[in-house]
Every structure is written in C-alpha cells, then in structure tokens.
C-alpha cells in the first residue's frame, strides 16, 4: 500500500513524538470536531441526569419556560435513541431466532402479530410498577418505564421487517453462503443483516414517528395515584395542555419541528444514503438518497478511521466464530428429522391456547360481563367506520394530488421529502387547537374529532402515491398519450391501476397508524375541557384514566381483533392482488 516516498517520509519523521507525526486529519476533520464534541457533551449530560436519586411522590421540577425546551428535547431524544437501539437489537435477535428455529417461529411470530396491534398505553400501565421496583430510590426506574413504552411503539414493526428480510434471502445467496461455509455468525453479518437492512431502516423511520406520537403518553405517567412527569418534551406538552397554555404549545410545536428536522438531516438521511449499498436490485438506480452529512463524514479521515476500526472488530469476530469442520466431518452428519419434538410442541401450544381461551371466558364472565364485550365491539365498529371513511376521504384528496406531483419529476423528489417529514411530525400537538375550535363553535365531537386520527397518517398515503406515480414507465405514459386517454377513462384504465400497489402500501401504513392514533384522537383534553368521541380509542383512554385494568385489557383485546381482522381480510387480499397483477 505505502508508496516509496511515504516510506521515506516516515524515516525522516521517526525522531518526533508519535502524536505529532501521525496527527492526520484533513480540513473536513477540523470542521466536524465541534459537532462531535458537542454531541458527546450533551449525551454525557443527558445520561447523567437520567440516573438521579428519586423517591415516588417527590415532585420533579418542570417549567413551561421555553428556555428549558432544548434541555427537555435532549432528554426526550436520548430516550428515543436508547429505545431505538434496543429495538434494533431486539429485531435482530428476534429475526435470527425465528428464522433459525422452527419451534420459536411457531410461537413468536403470531405473538408479535398480536403485540403489534396492542396500543402502547397498554404496555405502560402494566409495566411501570415493575420498573420502578427494579431501581428503588432512583429516577432510572421511571426512565426505564418510559423508554420501554417508547420501545413498544417502535420494536414490533422493525422486528417484523427484519424477520421478513431474513426469510426472503434469495436461495442462491443462501446456497453460496453454504458453499463458502459461512457460520451462523458470519452469515448473520455478511448476508442476512445486510439483506434486511433497507427494510429495517425504513421501518425504523416509521417507528420513530410512532415514538414521537406517543411521547406525551410515555413521559407523563400515572401510576398508583401518582402523576410522574419525567423531564422531557412530552411532559412539557402534557403540562401545557393541563394549564391550557397556547403559547407553550406553540413553542413545543416549534421545538418538535426543529427536532424532527434534525433527526431527518443528521440521522435518517445519512443512514438511508449509507444503506443504499444494501439494496438488492443489482442494477443501479437513480433514486438513491443523498445526504450532505454522510458525504462530509466520508471525507473526514478520523471518522473513516473509526468506521474502519469497527469493521476491523467485526472482521475479527467473523474470524473467531468460524465453522470448525466441513461436510466431510462426522459432525456434519444430520440425523433423520424426528417429528416427535414438533408434535409435543404443537400439543403444548394447543394446551396453552385452550387454557387461555378458558381463562378469557372466565375473566369476561366474572370481571366485565358479556354485555360489556358487546358494548366494546360496538365501539370498535364506530372507530372502524371512522377509519374507513377518513381513509376514503384522504384518498380522494391525495391520490389526484400525488399523481400530479409524481408525474412532474421536478416536484416529485422535493415534495416526497416534505411528505416524509410531515409523516414524522407528531400531529397530536395540534389537537388542542381542534379542541378550542370545537368548543368555540359547539361542534359535534363524534364527527369533528375524527379527522385528527388521520391527520398524521395521511402523509403515508401521499408519499406512496407520489412514489408510485413517478415510477410509471415512460413508455406507458406515452402510450396513454398516444391513444388519447382522457377524463375518467384515463383514471380507470391507466392511472389508478398503475399506482394501485403503492397506494395499498401507503393505505396499510395509514390505517395502522390511524387505529393507534384513535386512542389519542378520540379523547382529547385541553385544560379542564375534555372532548370524547364514541369509539374504542376513547374507551381505552377513559379506562386508563380510571385505572380499570380489566376494561383496559378488554378494550385492547377487542382493538387487536379489529386490527388483525382488517389486516387479514382486507389488506392482505388487496396486497396479493397488487402483487400478482398490478405491477410493471
């Protein structure tokens, strides 16, 4: 590697101390230095604040003064990232386990399917006491509970996407990994994780928006009659709502705006641009993400050195965990697969399911009563109607807009970025405004609270439609022009079928988000006023406020049934239709 002249230079330099001689770095390094230092200091300060002596009942100082907002933002951001890291690890472990062990797959995948449809509040109210008990006399317990709550809003879809990725590794690549004798560890780092990476990152972005959405719920925790408000932007918002302080809400919106922008520019954009190399289509594509930060980082020698160090460590671990034998060894001999463990496992699962069903029946008849179940199902139908209606409305508006934007390439990329950004913005911040308006004009909350559900999730629809419209093949476009398609015929025969697959993708995400949002959107407070719409979301929220555990569980269970049923009977079918028929 070393050219002759640099060897000479090394000789000349050998009398100087090493630090002086090897102090490399270029101008990019120097420019980045302050940023890196600032990040380190902030992280250290923030994490130090997380672990402080704390007794239950002790009030935590919290102020609505906007000058505290950067600090609160820092605390919230730290929590978010810790939860994100945990979600990442969880996803990898989950995917590795489920794809490797058939028995684990049988239990864990349906379990995750259920966990995914459980709203975040459900976890919080159950786990917070345990976490506090784990760290007596320290704030860390509450912090952990909050982080866990955020984790539950992020982990599931990431885990699913990792699982999907691991499972759909192309057969030939998998065979190549076998022929070149990659061990499980090597296979994970060299094949499975890289293959799953793009999907995982994309879901990570969505998870992040999900996390922001529930930032209030996760930081302002009520437990055993105590109201704990952890310092953070969520608590700030909760307090502003409780005190009906519109100015504070305004400040919070501004702070969130900055935060989401920073996440986007400093974290996700670079990550997505970096992950571009993991795209599996082997032909180059021009849709690659760009990131100024990544370009910058790639130019700095120091960060490159750090990256290389990590690569080196990974390389060492890869060398360490290698296969000790090949197919000629007796150890590679496979026994005849026995069906007995499988059958036993199936029997165990069946027994557990029957027991669960029995105890569920018992629980309902003793704790809540069957009429309550009927009532909750009715509530579920209300919310279902809202979700469908709003989705249809949003589609009516955003499909034409999205198609128009998508067909104008000059607009498409820019607007798409904006839509992605808007999707990440926690719209519940603007809820108070809605409350004020509804109260002022004396509107019916059953109708006028509904739009809040789709406020944040409609953007998924928009940017997917834009993406779909911008990938319509040019030849098809020309053909449509050539045959003079226009008006309704043009939509029916050409545009709608062309964007259908991406529309379905967007709609799946949007409805999933709307169900989750219903818990916050159907029950909105502003100072002393609380507005309720009839629906399962408000039911769960109401029961949470009342601390009625059996009814929370019932509400969550019924919501799960609705979400899963809807996914199974509607979306999965449309998705298969789109997959098999309507694609280029």
């Amino acid at each position: 590697m070393l050219a002759p002249e640099s060897v000479n230079m090394n000789k000349k330099r050998q009398f100087f101390p090493r630090q002086v001689v090897e102090a490399g770095g270029n101008r990019w390094d120097w420019a980045l230095l302050p940023i890196v230092l600032a990040v380190f200091v902030l992280m250290a300060y923030g994490s130090q604040q997380m672990s402080r002596p704390y007794e239950l009942g002790q009030p935590l100082p919290l102020s609505l003064d906007p000058s505290f907002l950067p600090y609160y933002l820092l605390r919230t951001t730290l929590r978010m990232f810790i939860a994100l890291g945990a979600s990442m690890v969880f996803s990898c472990v989950f995917a590795a386990l489920t794809t490797k062990y058939r028995l684990a797959e049988k239990v864990l995948v349906p379990l995750l399917d259920i966990l995914q449809s459980i709203p975040i509040l459900g976890f919080l109210s159950i786990t917070v006491t345990a976490f506090i008990a784990m760290f007596p006399g320290n704030l860390l317990g509450v912090e952990c509970a909050a982080i866990f709550a955020i984790f539950t809003s992020q982990a599931w879809n990431m885990a699913f996407s990792a699982y999907q990725g691991f499972r759909t590794v192309p057969a030939e690549l998998s065979e190549a990994a076998m022929v070149y004798q990659l061990s499980g560890w090597q296979r994970f780092w060299r094949l499975e994780l890289p293959f799953a990476m793009p999907g995982l990152l994309w879901n990570m972005m969505m998870s992040m928006s999900g996390g922001w959405f529930f930032v209030v719920a996760s930081e302002a925790i009520s437990v055993s009659g105590q109201d704990i408000k952890l310092p953070g932007i969520g608590s700030y918002i909760a307090m502003a709502i409780a005190q009906s302080d519109m100015h504070a809400i305004g400040w919070a919106i501004a702070a969130m705006f900055v935060a989401v922008l920073m996440y986007d520019q400093l974290f996700f954009r670079p990550l997505l641009a970096w992950a571009d190399r993991f795209r599996f289509e082997e032909t180059g594509s021009d849709t690659a993400q760009q990131s100024w930060l990544l370009t910058w980082l790639r130019r700095t020698e120091r960060t490159q050195a750090i990256v290389e160090w990590f690569g080196d460590m990974l390389g060492r671990s890869i060398a360490l965990f290698r296969l000790s034998h090949d197919g000629t060894s007796i150890r590679a001999r496979r026994d005849q697969p026995s069906l007995v463990p499988q059958r036993v496992w199936d029997a165990v699962i069946a027994a557990v399911v029957f027991y669960a069903l029995w105890s569920l029946g018992h629980f309902i008849s003793t704790e809540v009563g069957w009429s309550e179940v009927g009532h909750v199902f009715l509530m579920g139908i209300y919310t279902l109607a809202r979700v469908i209606l709003l989705l249809a409305l949003a589609a009516l508006i955003w499909v034409p807009v999205g198609v128009w934007i998508g067909m104008n390439p000059r607009w498409a990329s820019r607007t798409q970025a904006v839509a992605q950004f808007l999707a990440a913005f926690p719209t519940n911040l603007v809820f108070p405004v809605a409350v004020v308006v509804i109260v002022r004009f004396n509107l019916n909350p059953d109708i006028w609270l509904s739009p809040l559900m789709i406020l944040g999730t409609q953007w998924y629809l928009l940017f997917n439609v834009i993406a779909g419209a911008s990938t319509i093949p040019t030849e098809l476009r020309h053909a449509a022009q050539n045959f003079g398609l226009s008006g309704w015929l043009k939509w029916r025969r050409y545009l709608l079928p062309a964007i259908f697959p991406s529309f379905v993708t967007g709609a799946i995400t949007a409805t999933g988000g709307s169900w989750n949002a219903s818990i916050v959107a159907e029950y909105v407070s502003w100072g002393p006023t609380t507005l309720k719409a009839h629906g399962i979301g408000s039911y769960i929220q109401e029961m949470t406020t009342a601390g009625d555990f059996p009814r929370i569980a019932l509400g969550i269970g019924v919501m799960c049934i609705f979400v899963m049923g809807f996914n199974h009977f509607v979306w999965r079918r449309l998705y298969t239709l789109a997959e098999s028929r309507l694609h280029f």
Partner: protein
C-alpha cells in the same frame, strides 16, 4: 483410470407428493468424477441434473445411496468443492474484492493473506482495477468473473458450474468459457476436476471430456459419451458438429418417458407433465420447417441455430409439436407430418380450430378439463381442482407449470376461457356472428 474424487453410488432423491407418497427426482444415479477431467451434465428440464449437482456440492442430502468425497462420506458442503452459480449469487453489498475474499474470511484467514490471494486470482481472471467496485456496477460477464474468482481463490479440487454461462449473452459466455478452459489446460489453477451442468449442447461438447445425458422422471443417467477431441476445439469443425448431432440424438432417442421428447410414440396420460412450449414458438417452428431450406425435414442442431432458441427451449417446443401430431422424430431429425404441413399454410381461424381438435385428441389434461366443464351445470370450474389432481403425480411447481400450459393451449384452441383474477376456467362462449 485416474483417481476418483467424488463418487455417487445409487443416489436417490425424493419429494413428497400431494398424497404423501414419495416421488423420485433422482433414482439410482451412479457417477464418479475423476481427477483431471471435465464432465458435462445434459438433460431436459426436470431431469434432476441440478439436484445432482447440489448433492455433490453437499447443499442437499441424498435420500438414498452414498456420496463419497475422497472415499469419505459427504454430509455437507466441503472445503475442496466449490460452486459457481447461474445468477452469480454475489453479495451486492460487498465489493469485488470482499466478494472474492468471502470464503477465505469465513475460514478466519488474516486480512493481509486474504488480500494477497484475492489479488492473485483477480489478476488471473481479468478483474484487475475492479477490486473496489460493487457488483451492481459490473456487466453480467464481469459479475460471473467475480463468481468464478470467488470459487478459484479457495483453490478447490472440484469446481461445480451450475449453468454458469447461461445468464450471459452468447458472445460473453463463449469468451468466458474459453478463458476457463485455458486456465484449466495451462495448469494455472489447482482445480483437479470440473463438473458443468448445462442446457447448451455445444457448450458441453466444446468443454467436456465426458458428457452425461440425463433421462427424466425420475432423473437418472441415460447415456454417457466420452469426447476425446483435443483442445482447443473448433465449433465449426466436422468432429464437433457430428458430436453435437449425436448428443441431440441421444437426448431424444431411447425409451422415452411420458411427457418428454422421444422418437418412440408414447401416449400422454392425464397426470403427466406438459412441455413448456408457447404457441408463438410452436407456430414459428412449424412455419420454419415448412419453408426453405428445410422443406419439412430438419437436422436438430441446424434448427437450433436457425431459431436461436436454447437447446432446452427448442426441445420443449419440438416435444409440443410431436405430442400434438404436427411433427415426428427419426434419427435425430425432425419431420413435419401431413397435418403439420397443412397447419403451416392454414389461416388463423383454421389453425385455431385444428389446434383445438388435436388438443382434445392428444392432450388428456385438456380433454379432461373440457369434459369437466361440459358436465358442470355452471360451466366453470376453479383451477385448484386440476392443480390438486396434478399434484398427485407432479411436484407443486411442475403441476402449476403443466396447468399453465394446458390453459394457454386450451385458450388458443378456443376450448375454454380462463379468468386470471378468480382462477376460474370457463366454457368457451359460442361465437356469435354479430359479436365484435
């Protein structure tokens, strides 16, 4: 005879049919790969040659018989046996160099040693300057070079090539093949034996010291043809031409199994596979056969050249024509029947009618579908019914393929209609005069 490296003894492989009974993919395959030889496996689609390659690679386990590598039983992938894949199977996120180093890295070799070895092979295979490129930046030919370098850097005793040149265009494929042969003959690579799976007869004849021809259903070795021509061989030379002719003959001759091309007439049965022969190809070849210079009789290699179809595709199409009674085989030549000549000159509507008649007469699956539709009051039947039936004798994949062919043919013969969305086969509507 020189030292054997890999031996297969009475190897069999099965899959489970819909009724739970085992269907054989490979049966009683005996084969020995010796030091210093290149062996090519040829066979029609579904003959299990790819399965056999994967058994030798240790990727799948044989259900019956023994697989020995250097006299020892083989239970999985071995260090001395490496494989080159049809679609390259490169890791798209790794650079060329990292891809080449993959196997060495898995062995835990230090980075410097790895780089040294990789560099040597990269130079040998003509990839210098591309070390830092990602696979997606390369053309198909260059990608397969990476695939080959990745195998060669491991200094394998046995190199397995699974249709390694078939995803490349003809020119690139030939060039790469010649380079591999040069490396092999000059002894620059330590490889002791090469096994090539191919569907290109010329490729096999040009490369191999021995050609194995597989029979299908279940896959087994039908014939073995030693080729003693000196390298380098010329594709245009008489000897090569004759050998190619002979291979065609061997592939189509012999006691044919139902559903596969052969000289002996074999009645097709309901649960048999159907040839993957598209209407356009069949009609194209019929017309070609009827015209100059063939006048109703063609030599298979010549026809292959004329049509520019791969050998596998050509055989499937010819098989379709033979089954439908439009053509027949003798001594490795294909001849038009009277019906075939009539068809070639008929108008479109006449053709469709004729096609439909022949279908009902010769293709039991199509006839069965029509019969079912006539019996059924509503006049439509879900395709699943037929799929389930076919799965008793065919693998799920083969069953699907057979039904697709039957549907395409039946639609063309105006016997029934098919709705893609609902997967329902319907009775053909009677043509009405005023219908547009």
């Amino acid at each position: 005879m020189s030292t054997p490296i890999v031996e297969l003894k009475a190897v069999g492989k099965h899959f489970r049919g819909a009724d739970g009974s085992a269907r054989a993919v490979l049966e009683g395959v005996d084969f020995t790969l010796h030091e210093g030889e290149i062996v090519a496996l040829l066979g029609q689609s579904g003959s299990g040659k790819s399965t056999m390659l994967r058994i030798m690679a240790g990727l799948i386990q044989a259900d019956a018989g023994q697989v020995l590598y250097r006299g020892m039983p083989l239970y999985g992938t071995a260090r001395g046996i490496r494989m080159v894949f049809q679609s390259f199977a490169l890791f798209p996120w790794l650079t060329v160099q990292k891809n080449v180093e993959l196997g060495l890295e898995a062995q835990g070799m230090p980075a410097e040693e790895r780089a040294r070895r990789a560099e040597k092979v990269i130079e040998l295979i003509g990839l210098s300057g591309f070390e830092g490129a990602l696979p997606r930046e390369l053309s198909g030919g260059m990608r397969q070079r990476v695939g080959i370098a990745r195998a060669l850097v491991m200094e394998p005793e046995v190199l397995l090539m699974d249709e390694a040149f078939s995803a490349l265009d003809v020119l690139t494929g030939e060039r790469l093949r010649e380079e591999i042969l040069e490396l092999w003959q000059s002894g620059q690579i330590p490889t002791k034996a090469i096994l090539v799976v191919s569907h290109n007869i010329e490729e096999a004849v040009m490369m191999a010291d021995r050609v194995l021809i597989f029979a299908s259903d279940p896959g087994r070795v039908r014939a073995e043809l030693p080729i003693s021509l000196m390298q380098p061989r010329k594709a245009e030379s008489n000897e090569v031409r004759q050998l190619i002719d002979k291979v065609y003959e061997l592939m189509t001759a012999g006691a044919g199994r139902r559903g596969l091309i052969s000289e002996k007439e074999v009645k097709l049965q309901l649960g048999d596979r159907l040839p993957q022969a598209g209407i356009a190809h069949m009609e194209g070849i019929l017309e070609l056969l009827a015209e100059e210079p063939f006048h109703g009789r063609a030599d298979l290699p010549q026809l292959a050249e004329e049509t520019e179809l791969t050998d596998a595709e050509l055989l499937e199409v010819l098989n379709g024509l033979i089954l439908l009674g439009f053509a027949y085989l003798t001594n490795g030549d294909i001849l038009l029947t009277d019906l075939g000549s009539k068809y070639a000159t008929a108008s479109n509507t006449e053709r469709q009618e004729l096609f439909g008649q022949q279908l009902l007469e010769h293709i039991p699956l199509v006839a069965y579908i029509c019969h079912g539709l006539e019996q059924d009051k509503s006049g439509d039947l879900p395709e699943d019914l037929f799929l389930k039936l076919l799965r008793f004798t065919l693998s799920a994949e083969e069953a699907e393929k057979a039904l697709r062919v039957a549907i395409e043919w039946g639609r063309y013969g105006d016997l029934f209609e098919y709705n893609f969305n609902t997967g329902v086969i319907q009775m053909a509507k009677e043509d009405e005069e005023d219908e547009i």
